[in-house]
């Protein structure tokens, strides 16, 4: 159920990328899509009523592995968010530069390349 909500979020983002006419709205849609993927990653490591993934001194590894949520997807999501931030900054910078050159955010008017 909750997985399909993630899928829905991804599809909302995809829909936004396909139908938006403004560069900034496309950027926001990509952001939504990325966060859908991040949520999916987090859910894969989730365990209902799980413990935080910190090993107490003295606790056995087996009981830790049985009780804790998986920390690896969290680390991956963190990395992916940072990558996403870099891409986002570049995209927004491109939007600003495009606005300077073409005087518009409308992608139907930004089309010199053809063929």
């Amino acid at each position: 159920m909750i997985y399909s909500l993630c899928l829905l979020l991804i599809l909302v983002g995809l829909y936004g990328v396909v139908v938006s006419r403004e560069t900034l709205k496309i950027v926001i849609s990509i952001l939504i899509m990325n966060h859908g993927v991040h949520l999916l990653l987090l859910l894969i490591g989730y365990r209902e009523a799980g413990n935080p993934p910190i090993v107490d001194p003295g606790a056995s590894i087996a009981s830790f592995a049985n009780g804790a949520v998986d920390p690896l997807p969290q680390a991956m999501v963190l990395t992916s968010i940072v990558i996403g931030l870099g891409v986002l900054a570049l995209m927004v910078a491109l939007c600003v530069r495009l606005y300077e050159r073409y005087g518009t955010f409308d992608i139907t008017e930004i089309r010199r390349l053809r063929g």
Partner: protein, 491 residues
């Protein structure tokens, strides 16, 4: 030859260009000569290192952590082949940039981003687990987005925006695939995933993940239904960047990863193979036909790249040893002649200020080195017998016939003829037609640009002789094919 411990070399393939790209920003922001020298030295060192690691393989554990816990970087024959290609093309391109990039401001940024792109590609080639593969892919992709926009003119920004939107979409697909694979197998290590899948077989979510990977990496390789960004992005970039993008980026990020995942990790079946074949056929035909009508030289070469990637994927999609050899051999060949052709186009643009074939003509007197090397490149890509492109296309056609796919073989032959047609068009309109009045007194190409083009042309000729060594012998390409067939080692 001195025995080199390849284990110590593996991390350096990523660390050296990464460190150098930072160093260029620190010490050479205003001193362009220093930035140029540092870049050329870095690429020379990488070429040397990849030459030394030929025939060796190994796994490097990052920080000394053992495999299930730590991060692996693995080097096998296929990775060596790709590293060698990236370094040699990168070396030629960095030599060429010395003269070509003089027209641009902020050249030290160019060299930093260029080295970052090399870092990303080397990282993708050496990554031992899916998530690091994704991270390095993004490093290379972000560097290439900004390199496409480097001139900051109208077309460049537009092309870069298109590229970044489609690139982000494909990266999201790939990350979803990574998440699904991790959820199903509980590991990210390529070798472990391969053994888990071999035990359990393909379940529905894994099949979905594989489909997502095919879509995502077909985007990066610009196979036909996913190719829309390439004909804008590759011609708009400065010529050295176009050469890098078309020459190695689409292969290191697209074709290589596709082959690695399909053959080594997922253990591809007959249905998936036929999907690859059809993708290859579609790109081959559509790219070739679209190239014929182009007036812009670089745009024509960009469509031609789509077509040639189709040849590679068709060869790989056959799945037979001969098909794999043909695909990989064509990959290496294309990495020599396509950058060469893009550098030729850049030299023409540098001298005349135009890329429009209708405004050019008679350049073989004015730009002798460009004309001669471009002739070699054109004959190679069109598959004229003594040159390397002929042999790899011949192997692919023979492999099609061997597997009983006569239709694919016929299509490959026909597309070769189309390739010849558009290359002849370039030769005739740019180099042999009457010289227009406006181009009477042109400067010759600067020495470094000529040197880079000669280097790649010599590469084409050397690869033509590779066929004599017998590709089935465990030499470079044969060994890479065996690495693909034998499955992933270690774990």
């Amino acid at each position: 030859m001195m025995a080199i411990n390849v284990q110590t070399l593996i991390p350096l393939f990523v660390a050296i260009p990464l460190g150098m790209s930072l160093l260029v920003q620190l010490v050479a922001r205003r001193r362009h000569a220093v930035a140029e020298t540092l870049t050329i030295i870095t690429l020379l060192a990488l070429t040397l290192m990849s030459g030394l690691s030929v025939g060796q393989s190994g796994i490097y554990h990052l920080g000394g952590w053992p495999t299930p816990v730590g991060i692996d970087m693995r080097l096998d024959a296929l990775a060596t082949l790709l590293l060698l290609v990236v370094s040699v093309v990168g070396l030629a391109v960095s030599l060429y940039s010395v003269d070509y990039m003089r027209r641009f401001t902020a050249r030290s940024h160019f060299y930093s981003l260029f080295l970052l792109m090399v870092t990303g590609m080397n990282g993708v080639i050496l990554a031992g687990d899916l998530f690091n593969l994704y991270v390095f892919l993004e490093v290379a992709a972000i560097a290439s987005y900004s390199l496409v926009a480097f001139g900051c003119a109208h077309e460049e920004l537009e092309a870069s925006f298109k590229y970044i939107v489609l690139g982000s979409l494909s990266s999201a697909l790939i990350l979803t695939g990574v998440a699904l694979v991790y959820g199903m197998t509980g590991t990210l290590n390529l070798a472990h995933i391969a053994s888990r899948i071999a035990e359990t077989g393909m379940s529905m979510p894994l099949l979905l993940a594989f489909g997502l990977f095919i879509c995502g990496f077909a985007f990066k390789a610009a196979l036909v239904p996913f190719h829309a960004w390439l004909p804008d992005a590759h011609p708009s970039a400065p010529a050295p960047v176009s050469a890098m993008l078309s020459g190695v980026l689409i292969k290191a990020l697209g074709v290589y990863v596709l082959a690695r995942l399909a053959f080594n990790v997922f253990g591809i079946g007959a249905n998936e193979l036929s999907l690859l074949r059809w993708l290859g056929l579609l790109s081959m035909v559509a790219g070739g036909l679209l190239a014929v009508g182009q007036k812009d030289i670089k745009r024509l070469f960009a469509y031609s790249s789509i077509s040639q990637v189709g040849f590679m994927v068709l060869g790989l999609g056959l799945g037979t040893p001969l098909g794999l050899i043909g695909g990989l051999y064509h990959l290496v060949n294309h990495a020599m002649f396509k950058p060469l052709l893009f550098l030729n186009a850049g030299a023409i643009e540098y001298a005349t200020g135009s890329r429009d074939l209708r405004q050019l003509g008679g350049l073989n007197r004015q730009l002798p080195v460009t004309a001669a090397t471009s002739m070699i490149g054109s004959m190679s890509i069109a598959g004229i017998p003594p040159f390397n492109g002929f042999w790899s296309k011949l192997i692919i056609v023979l492999a099609c016939i061997e597997s009983g796919f006569y239709g694919f073989a016929t299509a490959a032959v026909l597309v070769s003829i189309v390739t010849l047609a558009y290359q002849l068009k370039v030769q005739r309109m740019a180099f042999f037609a009457a010289l227009p009045e406006a181009l009477k007194d042109l400067q010759r190409e600067p020495p470094m640009m000529a040197l880079a083009m000669i280097l790649l042309a010599v590469g084409c000729i050397v690869l033509s002789f590779a066929i004599l060594t017998g590709l089935r012998d465990p030499w470079l390409i044969g060994a890479a094919q065996q690495a693909l067939t034998a499955g992933i080692f270690g774990g």
